[in-house]
Homo-oligomer: 146 residues x 8
């Protein structure tokens, strides 16, 4: 079986690359998917449909266009990794985790110890809590191999 792994959350550090390269180094049977991670492009996803004067509606349009992609990829993944970094609100990552939980889609969180308490509900529905991309890779290796 080839496993599809959706990488959700933080887009400002290189955690995705560390997970992907680690999986490649082990030659794991894994395909990675993700939202569009170019921040400016993501914010502008709906602009081609016409400009908006109100920030709310520009964000709304772009978010819905992005959701065509993210909802489909999450529904099609076997496992999601949900990353919380130390910047920004990152409510979209928690939203993805809740979405996975309701679908019964197994997910692994990736965050530092300082967020244990505010992420307790998110972690309670997760299958594992990891602290580094390398731990994620080890779990993927274990789960998809043998």
């Amino acid at each position: 079986m080839n496993w599809t792994v959706y990488l959700s959350g933080e887009i400002h550090t290189g955690w995705r690359q560390r997970v992907i390269q680690g999986a490649e180094s082990y030659n794991l049977p894994v395909t990675f998917t993700s939202a569009v991670t170019d921040h400016a492009a993501s914010d502008a996803a709906g602009d081609v449909l016409g400009g908006e004067n109100e920030n709310f509606w520009r964000d709304h349009k772009s978010s819905k266009v992005n959701a065509i992609r993210t909802k489909t990829l999450i529904e099609n993944c076997d496992i999601a990794i949900v990353r919380f970094g130390d910047q920004y609100k990152q409510w979209n990552a928690a939203f993805d985790a809740g979405f996975c939980a309701a679908l019964g889609k197994p997910y692994i969180t990736l965050h530092d110890e300082e967020f244990i308490h505010p992420l307790k509900e998110v972690d309670a529905s997760a299958m594992a809590w990891s602290r580094s991309p390398e731990q994620v890779v080890e779990i993927l290796k274990y789960v998809t191999s043998a």
Copy 2:
């Protein structure tokens, strides 16, 4: 039809009471449900099952006990109101929104303008964005009456 409305999110201001009292003043056919909103009690929900030395596991145990309640109430509600205030991470509120989205459960967000951008994905799946408990009450009145 009697409507069940789940109130999710912020527990440190009186927004729940304002929504509930507004609905009562209109005599709406609405029953409200909610997580346990006593912060200390919620954090200690699992303590009766035995103490823990690790913060992670104490939080884990309590969060799972709380989830028995919250998951059941969300699955049984007709509408959810998801409130984001200006304090704390509030990832549990975004998690609830994602959970509702995946279930096809309609939800209304309640937050200030300053959170438009970080909540754009959460708002994109919502049926409405409101800025005050009074607006929520008006929407509930419209939706459940006539």
Copy 3:
């Protein structure tokens, strides 16, 4: 068993009343539900959340508020009656029919012979095609009695 019947479509003639009164005259075990049928109120359903300069967004906001009601009522009904009159585009009625079809919710269409051809796909998934509110009442009487 008490049956819940959702009345979808045309809001400019008295067909709803004729169905409801017919059912009452037979004392059928039926509860009727419906979208908000006050056209002006329906168009303004989202105005309480703030005004909009763009027609598209005003309509969008109001339609989503209305959908909280209609989606919930359709999901909770046992039977839907979908009425097509001779005015307006009435795409919302066809939308409701498609929504029912995907849910496996039985629905009965109510329209004149002139619409047989343009409604052929809608009728193909219906459980019955009726030409008058009185026929609808007779079907409800047969289905819910004995």
Copy 4:
């Protein structure tokens, strides 16, 4: 991932070809599906099963044969594009949109500004509203690439 995109609605203009050719020009990982778009063939889909004297039943038989194809293709698509032109009733397009909405299948509408108001319920459940096939292509490019 290869994406399957169902093209619903208007069969009298060349919008399908413009979407398909645009996608090909970008070499997008997209497969397009559609109802049978030959009007006469579609109306006669059931004739092989025997002739009918009543228009209603001829339409009924043909529509059910067509629905074997359309229902299956919609359930198997990742995204639907629903086109409303300026001729005919086009209730089947709105029916498809409602079907998609109930399945949680993301769809994009394609129509002119003049239909904003009559299509407000259909647009309210859509992920995007586009005004030209070229906009559809750009959205597909964004969603399926990167």
Copy 5:
């Protein structure tokens, strides 16, 4: 808990009454539902919508009207009893059994030994095979009591 029991199949003998009276004699917490069991009325269920020249379409119309009732009642029941007598084809009873099987709805067959072989697929998905209405009553008593 009150149990709803759907009685499917043969309408020419008094087995329904024997089951119902047996349940009443034990005062079981059971509500019984059923298709319309008046044969002539059932065949004429669609006549109010207009006459038909073709037998096929008359049957078709009536069967769809009947299906509004039977599909809803089967989906709402907790247990179905499916009776096969010694007359007629009774394909509708087998159809109901298949419908229950796909829904995961538990059903009990009621038929004589002579039908063991032709009903082997129907019995294979049943929770029990009974030979008399009195056995059905005993099973209902056991299942719904204590």
Copy 6:
């Protein structure tokens, strides 16, 4: 798209071969599946698990082994063809039709005119009624081509 078509019912005439050969002659993108159609082998499907003294249990064991195959193939098919011949009870064919109906799986019946009345419930949920394998082939050609 390649279509999977399940052939259910009668095993004593050559209708399956006529459908399969017709599809091959048109080179349709169709894969056919079926229950084991060797009557003796089918009746003996469970014998390898040990002999039985009671007819009921021998049939029961074999039917459950057969159901592993048939249930899986029906759930995986896109279209089912359900054939009723003029011999035997054929309750398993009606059972398969009910199973398809509950799953929302489109099916086409294949039977002579003499069975219109006893099959009216089975036909009411079908997408088409055909009278010859050649008609089935034409429908498959129309549905899967273009």
Copy 7:
């Protein structure tokens, strides 16, 4: 909201009564359901349908009759309590836990420390592990109150 709690597992000690009496002492809004807990009656559940010479088939018949009850009650419960004692194989309790897990039905295990390792998979999908009926009562009190 009134909560339905299914009590699964061990039938040879008084844990059910201790849970029920504890809930009553707190006047909790809880209704308890359970399999038939009379061992001899449960083993004989199918005997009314006729005797069997083979132990396997007697057990099979009775277990299916019991499953009409247990499957329905589990599907209708809000929470399940799954008790493992120190006698017998108790595979039915683990089966119920797996059934709950697949349905997304929250369950609480009740067992001694000695079973931590053999029950690790069952506990991994549980919402809580309790060691005494009194702990169960406290959790029910917390979850259903306030």
Copy 8:
């Protein structure tokens, strides 16, 4: 069709190899999947995420990591074989059986006669009970061939 068969339960005897080799000797169109069957590795599955002082939490972490694999493989299989040997509690095997039952996933049990009574509920939902790996192979051959 290629069939995926999940092998659940006992990891201390060679039954998996006997099933796999038997299937290979017949060249069956079957792919086998399984939990990680290295006992020590399975118990240590979560250790990479950090050590634990409490046995319960070490088991909990490892079991959840294992469940990412097992839940996914069971949901993706067509048939499960559930083996009960004569050692250990084997509650995880019964848990898998219950999980399959709730999903409507057909499974075959593999166990000796001595376990007929304690496994009666597990067998009641199974499609077949086998006593040897060779019987399993014969059933797979029958089900997947022809």
